[in-house]
């Protein structure tokens, strides 16, 4: 505790960043709510036209919107995309992979179980990424408070499993 307050004291220049983080949090929660709306739309849509087609509608429309935004927002700062390390470009492979696994698994293990497995993987991996600073992210180690948070998430998952 004492060392952490000492660390905080030596890092006063980082303060505005914290406040920005606090402002961002509601925005991220809202984005998560939007994701549920998307899932709510995708479920019935996928049942009618097929899950891959439903996914294509998301990615296709998204690409079109972003392309238009990009075209009309003028020259972009930073290096060209083909100058970057290849691994930074694979984000797009991971989305379709997720959809395929989901459509394969849900009929066999049920929606609740699928959801819990997804959330565990998501939270677990995100904590690991922070802890080790993988993919060039800033390191945020697992400490007492993170353990409490993880415990609470496990409780939440058990509660969801019970319905």
């Amino acid at each position: 505790m004492q060392t952490s307050s000492l660390e905080a004291a030596t890092q006063t220049p980082a303060r505005p960043k914290h406040r920005l983080g606090l402002l961002l949090l509601p925005l991220v929660i809202l984005a998560g709510m939007g994701l549920s709306v998307e899932a709510g739309l995708l479920g019935p849509l996928g049942a009618q036209v097929g899950h891959l087609w439903a996914t294509l509608s998301i990615f296709g429309v998204g690409t079109a919107i972003l392309l238009l935004l990009l075209l009309f927002s003028g020259p972009q700062k930073g290096p060209a995309l083909n100058e970057l390390p290849r691994w930074q470009l694979i984000g797009g492979f991971l989305g379709p992979m997720y959809v395929v696994v989901l459509t394969l698994a849900t009929p066999h293990i049920g929606i609740a179980m699928t959801m819990i497995a997804i959330l565990s993987g998501q939270v677990g991996k995100s904590v690991l990424i922070d802890h080790f600073g993988w993919f060039g992210t800033a390191r945020k180690r697992v400490n007492g408070e993170r353990w409490i948070a993880l415990l609470l998430i496990v409780v939440a998952l058990v509660l969801i499993a019970r319905g």
Binding site: K17, L25, S36, V61, G62, L102, G121, V123, G136, L152
Partner: protein, 151 residues
Amino acid sequence: MNLILLLVLVVAAGAVLSVQAAINGRLGQTVGVLRSSLVTFSVGTLVTGLLILFFEPAQAVSLLEVPKWQLTGALFGVVYMMVMVGAVPIVGTAVATVAVIVGQLAMGMLIDNFGWMGNTAIELSTSRVLAMLCLALALVFMYRSSTRQAD
């Protein structure tokens, strides 16, 4: 199919989502939110298109025949992607992930409870509300631990 194998596969699929958030956050820092999101969406479109060409059985209904409001999901997807790309470098992958899950579950419960957008209605239960509270508390702890050890 083997159930345990399936479960491992689904956990891995969840892990993949966090990897995507981390990679895109990193990418967004160098090339900007718009271009980073465009990479994700265009690669996603191409990969899904290939998967459809080679693996999708013929469907009775096409995307052109469903009501148009069912195609608006992408709007939310784009906003999500851009917010995540902006937020991950600042608050970290774990905090962003848990915050998304809190929003997702809260909205998911509303959608379930009222059966919005053609989904089957599932009534809100006490254990679901408790789960929501636990997650919100988890987010608070996760966020506090992040600000304490900010880079």
